[in-house]
Symmetry: C2
Subunit: 203 residues, 2 copies
DNA sequence: CAAATATACTGAATGGTGTTCAGTAAATGA
DNA sequence: TCATTTACTGAACACCATTCAGTATATTTG
């Protein structure tokens, strides 16, 4: 029976269509401002149809998060691949911050938005894990080669990630206003902060 | 004329009433889930009345942020006041993280929610500034006494704050799931991370 | 004191949101 | 050919922030 296979194909194609439209609109206008109605309009279907393919808006967010984690991983692979793990670590930090500042809406949905807690995890989790592992692998190499003041892998990863996320998210949410810096100065400060931090944990 | 003074008083009393109800409900249910209608219900006025005292929901958020910054400052003053600036810095870090984890909805509205950009700043800003200055003052003392690997005050403040905010916000948003730790372990990890970080920048 | 004005408040209405579901029309299977 | 399954629709539901004509009370003026 080729029919059921075709139906299967059409089903995943429809899911892809919805996901793609959602990604585009989430990127442009953000998750909150993108309504199911608008997505439905964009793909020329009725709002109800989307619910035949996705349980709710959260599940759609979850899928797009998977794509976004993949994009970040790709950025790491192309821009943070120095042989020297320490240099790679610095490249990673800068790539991460740059990624966040250049894709604010995407970063938002990846790490700032309240995560849906009603969705089963599949490929989404994989992409997230792979990206996180890219960090732990690099960090492990640094630790093994005794390049860092850091000795605990998990604790180190938590620190590096938190520092980078803190820099990006405080800036995206305009909470660095208290520092009374111009936009240029802020970007420079973020860059300096990440360099300076890695330097301070380097032996 | 005592009348206009009484009217003035009544006006600020009404603002206080609304602000207090909003604070309570924001704390319990979060900003997003607290509707103007619910606040109006709680104080037994109609929704329209709230708009006679606050321009919009954002302005209400802005006011409550002021209160929240004040609460954090109070926590610093009572729990992070060691004479030794280095010890004080560590106390501050721990106090900050504890504050965030114990008041998730408050922390949310202080540092994670999209800031309103349509509001004039007054006492809100003051509270935020004072809290930030508590950090820079402590850090400045550490730098002056040459206790830290940090030399630039602003850069140092940015780093310390970002690290703490990163730890809290990643955890509040359940993004530390990738680390596959239990709740107990996570809390310990956050505590360790902050200690370990300060230690690594200590001379 | 009475009339005019200013103030405080209401609640229905507007235009949005996510989500559901009875109904329809087309494709498939018997 | 007819019954059934499948895909889709769009109106309806219960919310949301915000506005504004209308009302009722309080104050000021003549």
């Amino acid at each position: 029976m080729g029919i059921s296979e075709r139906k299967e194909r059409e089903k995943t194609e429809m899911r892809d269509l919805i996901r793609a439209a959602a990604l585009k609109m989430f990127l442009e206008d953000g998750y909150a401002k993108t309504s199911i109605r608008k997505i439905a309009d964009a793909i020329e279907y009725s709002p109800g149809t989307i619910y035949l393919y996705y349980k709710d808006k959260d599940e759609l967010l979850y899928e797009v998060q998977g794509l976004a984690y993949g994009k970040l991983l790709e950025a790491f692979r192309t821009k943070a691949n120095d042989k020297d793990p320490l240099k790679r670590l610095i490249q990673m930090g800068k790539t991460y911050v740059k990624f966040g500042l250049e894709n604010p809406e995407l970063y938002d949905l990846m790490f700032i938005i309240r995560a849906p807690n009603n969705v089963d995890e599949t490929s989404h989790k994989d992409n997230g894990d792979h990206t996180y592992n890219y960090l732990t692998d690099t960090l492990e190499e640094c630790i093994n080669k005794k390049l860092l003041r850091i000795t605990d892998l998990q604790l180190g990863a938590l620190q590096v990630w938190s520092m980078c996320h803190g820099l990006v998210s405080l800036n995206l949410r305009c909470r660095l206003k208290v520092m009374a810096l111009g936009e240029e100065e802020i970007n420079a400060a973020l860059s300096h902060a990440i360099e300076n931090y890695i330097a301070s944990v380097t032996l």
